[in-house]
Amino acid sequence: MISFHEVVKKNEGAILSAWIEEMVKGVRRADLMTDTELKQQARELLGLFAKAAESSSEAESEAFLQTREFLREIAKSRMDQGFTPTETARFVLSLKQPIFHALRDALKGNPSDLVNEVWASGNLLDRLALFTVDSAVEFRDQVIGRQQEEMLELSTPVVKLWDGVLALPLIGTLDSARTQVVMESLLSAIVETNSQIAIIDITGVPTVDTLVAQHLIKTITAARLMGADCFLSGIRPAIAQTIVHLGIDLVDVQTKAKLSDAFAMALSRMGKVVVARKPAAGMALGSKAKDN
């Protein structure tokens, strides 16, 4: 009886050229990668596959470790190049036909063996293709996770408005994980800049529910414990209504409608006033006067 790996080994060259021909017809994306690269990958994969298939027919086995590593690399580079997971899988699956053809020729007189070997090799290639897809998805998940982290950092800046006045403009939905980051970065900024007033601006927060309010109150309380006053600003009319309807208690929190109002209050709290220059001079130098 002839096993499929023997057939593959014997007809490696023929299978490779048939496979590449197959890919050139259908799977290849000439816009995304070159023929030479594709051929190089195909040759290497077929070599690894033929070698591994000699000792095992299980895609998860030790023998296929190198093959799997190689497929993972391919999946990664394909994702970078902009292939879809289907296209990536078809790269492996398109190997089926040439192998089946070779088996058919080799096992012409033995239908039952032919079916067995077709099944075994088909199964193996399916597994490898699935593994490739898994790797591609895993790689994409990693990218998504990294982007989420980066967004978390990007979206919680603490800015200094004045000597002793910090502002924290919040953009996007607040969840527990983000609130933790917000709280920590605000509190450490308070220590670093020695600020006595912090303004949390929630203009960019789309909705405020009980959980978000709870998080905000926690942050404000923590800032107060450290000795900094915390104002809440940027409350849109709709959010003001929601807050009252939900019965959220914000009496201990100093709130203002706009960031500018909160900043004005912060300045007056510190005993500072903004005065307009004499009109003529102010016009000439570009007015720094306050608009409210």
Partner: protein, 131 residues
Amino acid sequence: MERIPILKLGDFLLVTIQVDMHDQLAITLQDDLTTQIAKHASRGVLIDISSLEIVDSFIGRMLANIAAMSKVLDAQTVLTGMQPAVAITLVELGMSLSGIKTALNVERGMEILRQFSDQSYELQDANGFQE
């Protein structure tokens, strides 16, 4: 026995906690502090916890208690220099210490105490205090 020193600074008492607070130490501090307030008729107490890194609900409650007791003895308590991690822990424990005044550092804390004592001395003065 280990004690936290209480320093008298004019009308005020200054307590700086530089070691890890354990329960007995907190109770001793509470005793000593109330005694000292009564003895010197102090107007304010400043507790600096900038080197305190670990708190639990007991210490949190002791701080609140000390503030309440000082209030009874007519002294204002100011807590200064709380670390961010400590503040987060206390909030997570549900202790907002709403009866205590807080300040970022000792300097600001003393300012608050001075304002407070000026205010209470010059109740008849409509402007309260002067900078």
